[in-house]
Amino acid sequence: MKLSELAIGATAVVREFPKAGAAFLRLREMGLVAGTRVTLIRTAPLGDPLEIKVRGYHLTLRKSEAEHVLVDPAA
């Protein structure tokens, strides 16, 4: 499933990432790589961007990026 489809409060593991694009490289460098656990904390009051928790800190990204990050729901 897509990171943008995750329910609020749910945790998932990153599976796949687009190769190209500066935004995705930066997301990787911020610690979001294949195998990383992410939790969707909330969406902004107007529904976008998203706030996720990754490696113990909070990060925002827009739905337009989150749509391209594929995740597997964590047990």
């Binding site: 990432f17 190769k19 500066a22 935004a23 490289l25 930066r26 997301l27 990787r28 460098e29 911020m30 610690g31 790589v33 294949a34 990383t36 904390i41 909330r42 902004a44 009051p45 107007l46 529904g47 976008d48 961007p49 706030e51 490696r55 113990g56 800190y57 909070h58 990060l59 925002t60 990204l61 827009r62 337009s64 990026e65």
Partner: protein, 709 residues
């Protein structure tokens, strides 16, 4: 095949001259606090030539009083730069900047509560082959969060000194200074395997960088690794370009990998995080499962769909209330001070009556006074911006506003600069440095002066007074017209932002990858220091320009001299300024303005509120303080030569529209010049804003006339 890393384990001798340390770290890890604690007030703040990135160099003293130079590099998440700030950090560390010495040693500060992501930058920096000291900051916060971060384990894993520290209260500073003055700082023994698919490329690039770009071998290896993740990263002025041969090799490999479908950049990042994950697991243990932190609890309210808006609204209201009420008192003192100084020069200084005295009082003192009278507002604004930044609320405001800003192609980070511009465009424009994307930043700078600033208020108030018949303006009318003017400016700003993002400054779709740092108590000392730095920049840049312009404007109004006994009104009418007003009249007559209003428009370049005092001189009606009644009556009595009244309600309204859009502020021009590093953008700004002002005023005036107003 994995190529083993080849970092020589050795010992670097202490340099004989004053050692140069670079201080690097992620944003929000307490770097500025540590820098201030290390160097005190012994700092030099400037700009890197050719880029608008702040350059801060300070001197720290070892426990034995030996000076140590510390360069505070801009906060960075990675050496693969995504913003000019990060590009400068990368270039200084790689020795690519001729204007800054390559640091001998590196001080890496990390947030102990967020070790993994912070270690990513450290991991890149260890590749540089320079002695590195790791500062583990916020140990107290980590302990409170139930994290046990063991410095000894990290030291063993990385092979460099690791100093636990609490920069906010100075804990660990002595140990850090002792480490910094060590003569025998070890080089990192940490080795990691470059992933097999890219190892041959790294080796080939390293050889070329050594041979063709004359880089020392270790720097060459670090740079080779960086080039692979840095392909389309930010370039800034003042950085030495790569040799043609190296670029050729890089492009050759990229083409090949693209053909094979190899994700080279991703492979590199992943392998770094593999290593970091292992190190962090060794060094950090979580003591039990902790519930939501205080920061999480605050955020549940501060970014709540309903409470979030109310808190944002309350914070902004508080900001504006303090700007307009708190600033009033010091502004009054400054105005009185300027007036008494001017009086003293006129009466008691012993200077003879004449041009020199007038130049000092009406030119220099009035000009400088006109600048520093805005200082209280600007200081308060910078203080608030600093407070919002250091507490972490700034990021939340951007998070909440991002969706709205995205409608015009900007992101949430443009919100605070634009909002500040309602008070004054100058701090707003200076606050755009937090916007990483250069095009977004430029668009924000270009539209910021359209937000109605406080200097327009006196003009609006005078025009509203002249607009409505009767001596007392109904409050509802006053407020209604005022809101209309503010709304016009705001819609104008967003409209132009939308237009510029689609035409002139078209860029990649904006992203909003931003850290939401935990809430922290503000470091008041750091906030105050930051505020004073900013205010000093304003005084230096805008002050000098304004002083010059004020003297020129004084000269234009004082020469040529009218015959003896002429009134100030007659003097102004036949001065250069008066003649310029006449020359301007054909251009502004279609807007319903005559040459006398023209003088006011010209003098507004010093500051918009000067319009009111100029009108006072032009129509020979001194208005005292906030009472504009005499001036209002004088305006209403003024007629065109053919007997038509000049200040009809339609003309007053048109004039307000003109003031909403026109670029009439020299200080803003000076700051835009500084922040964009060229004359191109301030000139473009004058042209588009004043052009829009003319066109809209023309439409309003002509349509109003056609409708019989």
């Amino acid at each position: 095949m994995a190529l083993p890393a080849h970092i020589s384990s050795g010992v670097s001798a202490a340099p004989s001259r004053t050692p140069v340390y670079a201080l690097v770290g992620n944003p929000n890890c307490g770097k500025s606090t540590l820098f201030n604690a290390l160097t005190g007030l012994k700092q030099k703040v400037g700009n890197y030539p050719g880029v608008t990135v702040e350059k801060k160099i300070g001197t720290a003293y070892s426990q034995h009083g030996q000076p140590i130079t510390v360069i505070d590099l801009p906060g960075a998440y990675s050496l693969a730069a995504r913003s000019p700030d990060e590009a400068v950090t990368r270039d200084v560390l790689l020795g690519r900047r001729a204007d800054t010495p390559q640091p001998d040693r590196i001080l890496c500060i990390v947030d102990a509560t967020n070790l993994e992501r912070n270690l990513y930058l450290v991991h890149q920096i260890l590749d540089l082959g320079r002695p590195v000291i790791l500062v583990l900051n916020m140990m107290d916060v980590a302990a409170a969060a139930g994290l046990d971060v063991r410095a000894g384990r990290l030291e063993r894993e990385l092979g460099i000194p690791v100093i636990p520290c609490e920069a906010v209260n100075g804990k660990g500073l002595i140990e850090l200074k002792l480490a910094m003055s060590r003569a025998d700082l070890p080089l990192s023994r940490h080795a990691w395997d470059i992933p097999a698919p890219i190892a041959p490329a790294v080796a080939e690039l390293q050889a070329s960088l050594t041979a063709n770009d004359r880089k020392p071998p270790l720097i060459a290896r670090a740079e080779a690794l960086l080039l692979l993740t840095d392909q389309d990263s930010v370039r800034v002025a003042g950085s030495t370009p790569l040799s043609a041969r190296t670029t050729e090799i890089l492009q050759g490999w990229q083409k090949r990998w693209e053909g094979e479908g190899t994700d080279w950049a991703g492979t590199l990042v992943n392998s770094r995080y593999d290593v970091i994950g292992r190190i962090a697991a060794e060094a950090v243990t979580r003591a039990g499962h902790t519930g939501p932190t205080a920061s999480d609890k605050i955020d549940a309210v501060a970014t709540h769909p309903i409470w979030g808006w109310m808190i944002l609204g309350a914070v902004m209201t508080l900001l504006f209330l303090s700007i307009f009420t708190l600033a009033e008192y010091p502004m009054g003192f400054i105005e009185d001070g300027i007036a008494s100084l001017s009086d003293w020069v006129k009466k008691d200084s012993g200077l003879p009556d004449g041009d020199l005295r007038d130049l000092i009082t009406d030119g220099a003192i009035a000009g400088v006074g006109g600048v520093i009278v805005f200082l209280p507002q600007i200081l308060i604004l910078f203080f608030f911006i600093g407070l919002l930044e250091s507490t972490g609320y700034m990021a939340r405001a951007a998070f909440i506003m991002d969706r709205l800003m995205s409608r015009v192609g900007l992101n949430g980070k443009s919100f605070i600069p634009l909002l500040s511009s309602y008070a004054c465009a100058i701090p707003g424009i200076m606050a755009t440095r937090t916007i990483e994307d250069q095009k977004d930043r430029l668009v924000t700078i270009l539209v910021a002066p359209l937000m109605s600033c406080s200097a327009r208020l006196p003009v609006y108030l005078l025009m509203i007074a002249a607009l409505v018949p009767g001596d007392r303006v109904p409050v509802a009318t006053k407020v209604g017209v005022m809101i209309l003017m503010y709304a016009l400016g705001t819609f104008g700003a967003f409209g132009f932002a939308w237009l510029f993002k689609r035409t002139l400054l078209k860029g990649a779709p904006p992203v909003m990858i931003m850290e939401l740092p935990p809430y922290r108590l503000p470091g008041l000392k750091d906030v105050a220091l930051h505020m004073l730095e900013r205010a000093w920049i304003f005084l230096r840049r805008a002050g000098t320009v304004i002083l010059g312009i004020s003297i020129v404007l004084w000269f234009l109004a004082a020469y040529p001299k009218a015959p003896e006994g002429a009134t100030p009104q007659q003097q102004l009418a036949q001065s250069f300024a008066g003649r310029a007003g006449h020359a301007l009249e054909p251009a502004i007559a279609p807007l319903g303005f005559d040459w006398q209003i023209g003088i006011g428009l010209i003098s507004s370049f010093a500051a918009r509120e000067v319009f009111v005092s100029t009108m006072g001189v032009v129509f020979n009606a001194e208005s005292k303080d906030d009472d504009t009644t005499p001036l209002r009556q004088a305006l209403l009595a003024t007629k065109w030569p053919d007997g038509r009244p000049l200040f009809t309600p339609l003309v007053c309204f048109t004039l307000m529209i003109f003031y909403v859009f026109a670029m009439q502020c020299v200080s803003t021009v000076a700051i835009v010049r500084r922040e964009t590093n060229s004359w191109r953008w301030p000139l473009f700004q004058i042209a588009y804003q004043t052009g829009t002002a003319w066109i809209l005023s023309f439409i309003v005036y002509q349509a109003g006339r056609a409708l019989g107003f």
